[in-house]
Amino acid sequence: MSQYTRDPDKCQMVQDDLAELALGILAGRERAEVLDHLESCAHCGAELESLSTAADTLLMLTPEIEPPLGFESRLSEKLREAAQRDRSRRFRRVSAFAIAAVLVAVLGFGVGVFVSNNGTGSPNRSVAAAPALAQLTSNGRVMGQVVISTDQPTWMFVTVDSAKLSGDVSCEVTLNNGQTLTVGWFNLSGDYSAWAARLTVSAAQVRSARIVAADGAVIASARLSV
């Protein structure tokens, strides 16, 4: 499938749902279908962006209300606690990275076996359990990689290679049946982040994956193929 081919019929179908997506109220299969279309249609992407801007701007009309006494001091305490949690989370992330690195290395060996067998002319594609892998991209720029093991249990590994990104993000996958699953949350910091999680579905069921910021914006996406 060409990444930037415009399908006017599909665009027309999606137009009806764009406003609801911009408002954050579109769910389920409809949401998955629209997101899937947006990955390959810059025209509808621009439509969504302008509708989202209009939706967000509406919030400016809400009246200001003075918070209760002590709001600021209670917030300061929570910010201190959050900073401590973030520090310990970064430590756990380093441990998770070490585990993920070992597992990816093992899967990498699986890929090597798969390629090697083909290289010797063997037609048997089932010899090795090649993981599904795809690049995470944003506006055509490579941001990282997604790897999903084809063994049981299914593991998903995500690497994000960008110094410009940090903070908590979620990872969503869209299945072939249109269902969207949130795999989990992870933290981006520094030049390189890696993260691993178990999937409740097989690699063959996963059509695409997305990294989503806390405000719902899609940071990068990947189209999987096994």
Partner: protein, 192 residues
């Protein structure tokens, strides 16, 4: 708390966020004092009680501090970014508390949907709030209610249909037409 910080004036939101991103506590304090009334006001409008609204507004500030370094000015203003984070948290809080969302009947909702164009408002108004007020007041009341229910309270088309006692298709149409008109007015008023 009630006293404005002296350094608040003149420092842009973007500059404050840059300071927050590198751990400047003074920038955090200034930002909190600048935005606490807006965030608390929005949270209270959606959740309807003071305690939950405070929790929501505080969690929003924590997320803003944590994600300050990824704010992208090309995707919108700091104000809409902070309000969107708060709105999403408030809607989550409501959904956790109530499995079936009910129609908001509070003062904030009624104020929002009854917004009217002021005599001094012009389509070329400089401030964003006036432009939005004009855009919303241009919508027929039924579209205004559907758009506000969705945009502020996170009601889905199915929920808007239930709240307004209308068919689902009508709810979806009102949302779609209202948003299209809203965008058109905002885009026109932002054109030179």
């Amino acid at each position: 708390m009630r006293k404005r910080h002296g350094k608040d004036e003149g420092v842009s939101d973007e500059t404050l966020l840059s300071g927050i991103a590198v751990g400047d506590e003074q920038a955090v304090l200034t930002f909190v004092r600048r935005y606490q009334r807006r965030l608390f006001g929005l949270a209270f409008g959606i959740v309807g009680d003071v305690g939950t609204a405070e929790d929501v507004a505080q969690e929003a500030f924590i997320r803003i501090v944590r994600h300050a370094s990824v704010f992208d000015a090309r995707r919108g203003s700091v104000t809409t970014w902070t309000l969107t984070i708060t709105r999403n948290l408030a809607i989550d809080a409501v959904r956790i508390r109530r499995s079936i969302p009910v129609a908001p009947d509070d003062r904030v909702f009624l104020e929002l949907v009854s917004v009217e164009r002021q005599p001094e408002d012009t389509a070329l108004a400089a401030d964003a709030m006036t432009r939005v007020r004009i855009a919303l007041s241009n919508l027929p009341m039924e579209q205004r209610r559907a758009v506000v229910l969705a945009a502020m309270y996170g009601r889905t088309a199915v929920e808007v249909a239930a709240v307004e006692s209308i068919p689902l298709g009508t709810a979806k149409s009102r949302i779609r037409l209202g948003m299209a008109k809203l965008r058109e007015t905002l885009v026109i008023s932002e054109s030179p």
